[in-house]
Subunit: 271 residues, 2 copies
């Protein structure tokens, strides 16, 4: 692991690190905010959306202020493998910057696009080995494609995360242009994507942990998110809240507005 | 004036607008955060540093959270005129992105580089005409070159701003490579820059308002800032505080850390 940069921030350290990942077979870069603390701290994974790198949320989401106050670390993984030898597509929503948090099984994506394994296994192993983080106090959140990632990785890792939240998540990708295209490319069919669809997983009872999502009523990508499917799947679940926020859109101005709410939600469960 | 974008943010609106400026003779773009309010609100000018546009602080400084809580608007001007017909230099610290908040008198800069007049007159006139802002409740802050701008524009506008603050300001540009080069280019001599040097203005008693500055002890540009000159000029002034912050550098991770302090400082004087 190499240190790319470290900046003091809200009394802690906002670091950027790179390492060779076995899961993706590439050099990967991630951000980690570590609050000032005397010992190991809980950790919140923040998964970013389409076109993002590790950097976008790290500089725009305002997470450090809340995380420092709550004594929680925040990790910002990249959204895909990158580099010259890595497959790509000219569309913004496929290939580099658009890993969708699944392990691809189809050419040309299979050799490197294993973002599920990268986040859950590879990056996590490194994090708990190298930083003062508490493995039994993990939570996960994300934005848009990263909200999809947070909800589905939580559903597929029973008992691992104490809570999950999401900002404007893609909720039902097997029924959306944000999902059908990617599942077909990475996994060979939309059908294969059913194991990575938050609404289907929730309907099957797999989201068995505290859940909080926020989506803006003015989200310019609203129809692609299919929030209503997740709301329906989680209806009556006393530990799940699918909120609509009046007038907010899909931007980081929305994410930053509700970041304190989400960090406080996770802090309650991580305490 | 044209609306480039408006995003709901912390209950208010983060807007980006463009307009034709008489002062610069160009199209200028600025950001304005307006908190939710029933009537006119106080306004804080935030002047950015070298290489920045109106956008950097708007997305990275975390100002909206604090400003919304305090009921204060924040305006983010650009740092120079821009465009094809506007003079430029290949160096990052001269020309476009580096206006230094003075009115240039020398070729090739004089026709467009009038950032002092732009901020104090042209942009301000537009702001108070078009938005619900209170002209008698103004404050000013900035970062690096923008910290220099905030301190010097406050000193040159007695009675206009109720308070001034700065993050890692260039404090004594007539004695720094961040200043000597620009004053020579824009004004014809370092000597002419003495009227735009915060430490010299402060020593002459011109900073006659509440002052707060924060600079990191690990600032990679520390020697260029000459914070000690400003501290010396303001020593014994009961309304001025020149603070050093242990371990912080020049980045927005530093700015965002102390943004709440600065907004609270201004809110006290704007109330």
């Amino acid at each position: 692991m190499e240190t790319v940069s470290e900046n003091k921030c809200f009394g802690g350290v906002q670091g950027v690190y790179s390492h060779t990942s076995v899961a993706t077979g590439t050099e990967m870069t991630f951000g980690l905010f570590l609050p000032e603390a005397d010992g190991p701290v809980p950790v919140l994974f923040y998964l970013s959306g389409l076109t993002c790198t590790h950097e976008n949320a790290m500089v725009k989401a305002g997470a450090q202020a809340c995380a420092a106050a709550a004594g929680i670390a925040v990790v910002f993984p990249d959204t895909s493998p990158r580099g010259d030898g890595v497959a790509d597509d000219e569309a913004y929503d496929l290939g580099q910057g658009a890993g969708f948090y699944v392990d691809a099984t189809k050419a040309p994506w299979a050799p490197h696009f294993s973002m599920q394994s990268y986040v859950l296994d590879d990056l996590s192993t490194l994090l708990f080995e190298r930083f003062p983080l508490t493995p039994d106090a993990q939570a996960i959140t994300g934005h848009s494609m990263g909200g999809h990632g947070a909800l589905t990785l939580a559903a597929k890792s029973p008992g691992r995360f104490r809570s999950v939240s999401a900002f404007s998540p893609i909720c039902n990708p097997t029924e959306s242009d944000w999902g059908q295209k990617q599942f077909t490319a990475y996994l060979g069919s939309v059908e294969a994507g059913r194991a990575h669809d938050a609404s289907l997983l929730a309907a099957g009872g797999a989201l068995d942990l505290p859940v909080l999502t926020d989506t803006g009523t003015a989200d310019q990508f609203g129809p692609l998110l299919r929030t209503e499917a997740l709301a329906s799947a989680l209806a009556g679940n006393p530990r799940a809240e699918v909120r609509m926020q009046d007038g907010y859109d899909h931007s980081y101005f929305f994410v930053s507005t509700f970041m304190a709410d989400h960090v406080a939600f996770h802090a309650t469960h991580l305490a």
